[in-house]
């Protein structure tokens, strides 16, 4: 039996198409498991307004069209906040070009001590594009409560200052302002980048 050139070409083309199709299907169907909890929220938790570390009044809704990452903490925070902020800072370069569509905010739950200047110094240490937000106690509560964030001042015996007890999770909003994902404390930068890339596909 003679295999003609035409036959061979047809077979090769079919094989390539099949492999490409199988690969594409495999990649598409491969179940992805996030390092946090996803939510199919249809309605955004609502707008809030705070002051940026440059002294500008902002509204959360100003950032629609971007993926917004919210972290609630305070600059005197001894361990949990710097760890999470460092992971977020390391996540940014891992996102490559997609990083420009992501805005990370750190919202201070310690309005008494966190001034805009202090917040600026703190958040930009982790990444130059991060924005620190401050507000009155009422404004901060309006920005935290609907996002499931609890915080409370905790007096510490012997120490001159006080600590803030607060929810340590990270909240990710899609460009429509809907909550899409929550990371618990302890997710690494690599895991964050992986999740973000998957969300932003």
């Amino acid at each position: 039996m003679k295999i003609t050139k035409k036959t061979l070409v047809t077979i090769v083309i079919i094989a390539i198409v099949l492999f490409a199709g199988a690969y594409f299907l495999g990649v598409k169907l491969r179940p992805y498991s996030y390092h946090g909890r996803t939510i199919q929220s249809t309605d955004p938790p609502g707008d809030f307004t705070l002051i940026t570390h440059d002294g500008q009044r902002m509204h959360l809704s100003d950032y629609e069209g971007k993926w917004v990452i919210l972290y609630y903490g305070y600059t005197f925070c001894p361990d949990v906040c710097p760890t999470t902020m460092m992971q977020l800072g390391r996540m940014m370069p891992l996102l490559g070009k997609k990083a420009k569509n992501v805005q990370v905010f750190m919202i201070s739950v310690d309005p008494e001590r966190d001034t805009p200047e202090r917040m600026k110094e703190y958040v930009t240490y982790f990444h130059p594009d991060f924005i620190g937000l401050v507000g009155t106690p009422e404004e901060v509560a309006d920005a935290a409560t609907p996002f499931g964030i609890y915080y409370k001042k905790k007096e510490v015996e012997g120490a001159s200052g006080y600590l803030m007890d607060h929810t340590a999770s990270v909240t990710i909003l899609d460009p429509q302002g809907r909550v899409r994902l929550i990371w618990p404390y302890g997710v690494t930068a690599e895991e964050m980048a992986e999740d973000m890339k998957h969300l932003m596909r």
């Binding site: 039996m1 003679k2 295999i3 003609t4 035409k6 036959t7 047809t10 077979i11 079919i14 094989a15 099949l18 199709g21 179940p31 498991s33 909890r37 996803t38 939510i39 199919q40 929220s41 249809t42 309605d43 938790p45 609502g46 009422e138 509560a141 309006d142 935290a144 409560t145 609907p146 996002f147 499931g148 964030i149 609890y150 915080y151 409370k152 007890d165 929810t167 909240t171 909550v179 929550i182």
Partner: protein, 256 residues
């Protein structure tokens, strides 16, 4: 004669293809190329059928992850302070009312909560702790003492049922109104209009069920079965099983 000969050649040529073409037609199937294509079509068809069957028969049912439940800090009937983090990893059923609301003049869901608490052992929750919370939107009148008396009158088991009040009215409004999105309005002193609502929140602090006559009707059978649905997902949605659960969310295979 000449005309007839001129017309016939074309159809004739089609009926007798050259040897190469014959070989090609026979070769392709024998090499499995075309058959492989059928296999792919069959596989895709099966996948489509399987998806359709999943959607129609719903082997896995879930409850939607509606939205985040709010963060809060409240004082309970014993004067203890509890915050929203206390309820992480537990199933919590929330109720919003005020103690001066007495049926039948004022409709509220205390008795339904009590019924659910009493019948809790009828549902399987896979050892996930269950909590009940009643938050008053009349904190000035409903002090911890008033709430304690109310709980006792109701016969509530306060080991897993907290009655919450707050000394910060702004927080109460923020948590119930903005956070849980439950409407209430003070018509006059000690007189509120509100939509009686129960809300089921999972261990991640995500709202999974809203029970008023607008979303899910209020009946304890449904709520008890929903406890089971959420607890089952929390317990079994791991590894390969999580694919099925995520598919159930994707295709909105929601429990009644």
């Amino acid at each position: 004669m000449i005309d007839a000969e001129n017309v016939s050649p074309t159809p004739l040529k089609k009926e007798t293809p050259d040897i190469e073409e014959i070989e090609e037609r026979q070769l392709l199937p024998s090499f499995g190329g075309l058959r492989l294509l059928y296999v792919v079509y069959a596989a895709l068809g099966l996948l489509l059928l399987a998806t359709a069957a999943f959607i129609i028969f719903q082997p896995i049912q879930v409850l939607p992850r509606e939205r985040l439940s709010p963060g809060f800090i409240f004082t309970n009937q014993d004067g203890e302070t509890l915050n929203s983090e206390y309820f992480r990893g537990k199933l919590t059923l929330y109720n919003f009312t005020y103690t001066r609301c007495q049926p039948p003049d004022c409709e509220q869901l205390d008795d339904l909560m009590k019924d659910v608490q009493d019948r809790l052992d009828e549902t399987e929750v896979y050892d996930i702790p269950v909590e009940f919370v009643t938050i008053t939107f009349d904190p000035e009148y409903d002090t911890p003492e008033v709430l304690k008396a109310h709980a006792e009158a109701l016969g509530a088991d306060t080991s897993n049922w907290n009655f919450f009040t707050s000394d910060d009215p702004a927080q109460t409004k923020r948590v119930i109104g903005t956070g849980f999105q439950v409407y209430y309005n003070e018509r006059g002193p000690g007189d509120f209009e509100f939509i009686p609502t129960l809300i089921l929140v999972d261990g991640w602090g995500i709202v999974r069920g809203i029970y008023n006559d607008r979303v899910y009707p209020t009946d304890s059978d449904r709520i008890l079965s929903h406890f089971n649905v959420v607890a089952k997902e929390a317990t079994f949605s791991k590894g390969a099983n999580s694919i099925g659960y995520e598919a159930a969310h994707l295709f909105c295979c929601y429990a009644d």
